[in-house]
Symmetry: C2
Subunit: 254 residues, 2 copies
DNA sequence: AGAGATAATTACGACTAGCGTAACATCGAC
DNA sequence: GTCGATGTTACGCTAGTCGTAATTATCTCT
């Protein structure tokens, strides 16, 4: 699941594997021992021992049918984490304000492991709205999350862009050169608008949250159904987003 | 921090210690390596290796001043856990409804490691309100959380009650025999009201969430400032609480 | 600013924790 | 009831991991 080069040793393998298990259970609720073991390529006894250890501490819970889910300790950890991670703690109220004003779903995304990862969100009270989910990953090369890529040093940027660009819809950019051009444009204008690049019916607008040195910390995003989003709405979103992003930057101390 | 008897081996110690570390960071944000090490009684190199392993995976994050906090992966895990733990997923909307009606703070608590543990909460929009916190622990013997104790088998009950009862305020019950009597009363009437047993100025009312076999799963709770809570309010809370508790029971499949 | 104290990190040999194999038990399906 | 699959246990061997002790970085106080 994750190991490119032999990877240097200074880490505790058992712990590393156990994190794999945890993430596996998070991603696949009600997964069975055998499944986990083959998902991460380890032996069953090993995984069993780890699950047992984590179960005693309430990190996972084994149902009476033998399937595993995350447990209450994970909830406690997550709640504590939300208040400890500055970015999330600060962004949350701002995301909500932004979401109220735009009356659409908002997200905060960071780069994690070559993908964009949603770490905070707000969904307005509205019958039809874009659904966001903390923990959901998306390619960096599709949709407005490209802003996360646009401000990186060209070298790092190159590494982040895979050889074949995943094609999510027929509007997704699949040509590397074209993507680079797009990234330059994004950097120039300071935002990115995606019309159906990730999902056919959705419009997505993102703006970078920048650190004092101009490096990207995260991206704030508004997602809306295409049918009710006019050009003028997009323009409005951009203004709101830039405001939100600079508030977050400021509150982070810049 | 936790080890009663030598504790049998079938668990992975490294993982167990690493959970200790995680919980320690959760409880003490911005803790340093040395602190963690002595908090849980392990050597520094060992803890360092574990922190490094977890940092690579985003479970913890090391600030540039060398202190540790939980990381984004912990948020992701916690969010996933909230949707995977049936009790919490089901209770959340019910807690909110209850909290809206009572216009006071509501909590869901379970027994965990001989204490009561808050695993879900709702706070109403109100200038002055009781503050609740997911992950906060309280004694089982003080306040309305006694309901969690009341329905246990007498044997188990005895084990849960420590020899000396922690005295949080001067209204806290500190006499064992008196506590037992109180527990019997709670079981008879199906709820527990606490006037300032945990915190001087607070009223707390709890009702048990029962399984089909009459065992306690959790406790639902309303907490309110004493000065604005009349006898009639308490009665109203009890009705609301019983309703909420039975809804949760029902949705859990009973 | 420099000396002393404290904390973080590295290196490495020793040892046992923890791994895998393989046998066994349990469960489900047909 | 038999077969296949999954979960669990036992145990001997090995390498992962631990602690000591030395080293470096960081902080503190005068």
């Amino acid at each position: 699941m994750n190991d490119q080069p032999p990877e240097k040793n200074n880490i505790v393998q058992a712990v590393d594997v156990c994190i794999d298990v945890l993430l596996n259970v998070a991603k696949n609720p009600d997964v069975r021992l055998t499944e986990i073991a083959q998902n991460i390529g380890e032996s069953k006894p090993r995984i069993l021992r780890m699950l047992r250890t984590m179960e005693r501490r309430g990190l996972v819970r084994k149902s009476d049918t033998g399937t595993y889910r995350l447990g209450t300790t994970a909830i406690v950890l997550g709640t504590a984490a939300s208040t400890q991670v500055d970015l999330v703690r600060i962004a949350n109220p701002i995301l909500e304000e932004l979401g109220q004003k735009a009356n659409e779903t908002t997200q905060l995304r960071i780069i994690d492991n070559g993908e964009s990862l949603c770490i905070a969100k707000f969904e307005p009270m509205r019958d039809l709205r874009v659904q966001a989910m903390i923990g959901r990953r998306r390619p960096l090369t599709a949709g407005s999350y490209k802003v996360l890529l646009a401000y990186l040093h060209p070298q790092v940027q190159q590494q982040m862009i895979p050889d074949i660009l995943p094609k999510l819809t027929n509007r997704t950019i699949t040509d590397r050169a074209k993507l680079i051009l797009e990234l330059e444009k994004i950097k120039r204008q300071g935002f990115c608008v995606s019309f159906g690049e990730v999902s056919e019916q959705l419009v997505s607008v993102s703006v970078p949250v920048l650190a004092f040195d101009g490096s990207v910390i995260a991206a704030v995003n508004v997602g809306a159904p295409a049918f009710r989003t006019q050009r003028s709405d997009v323009d409005r979103f951009i203004v709101l987003l830039k405001d939100a992003a600079s508030k977050i930057s400021a509150r982070l101390g810049w």
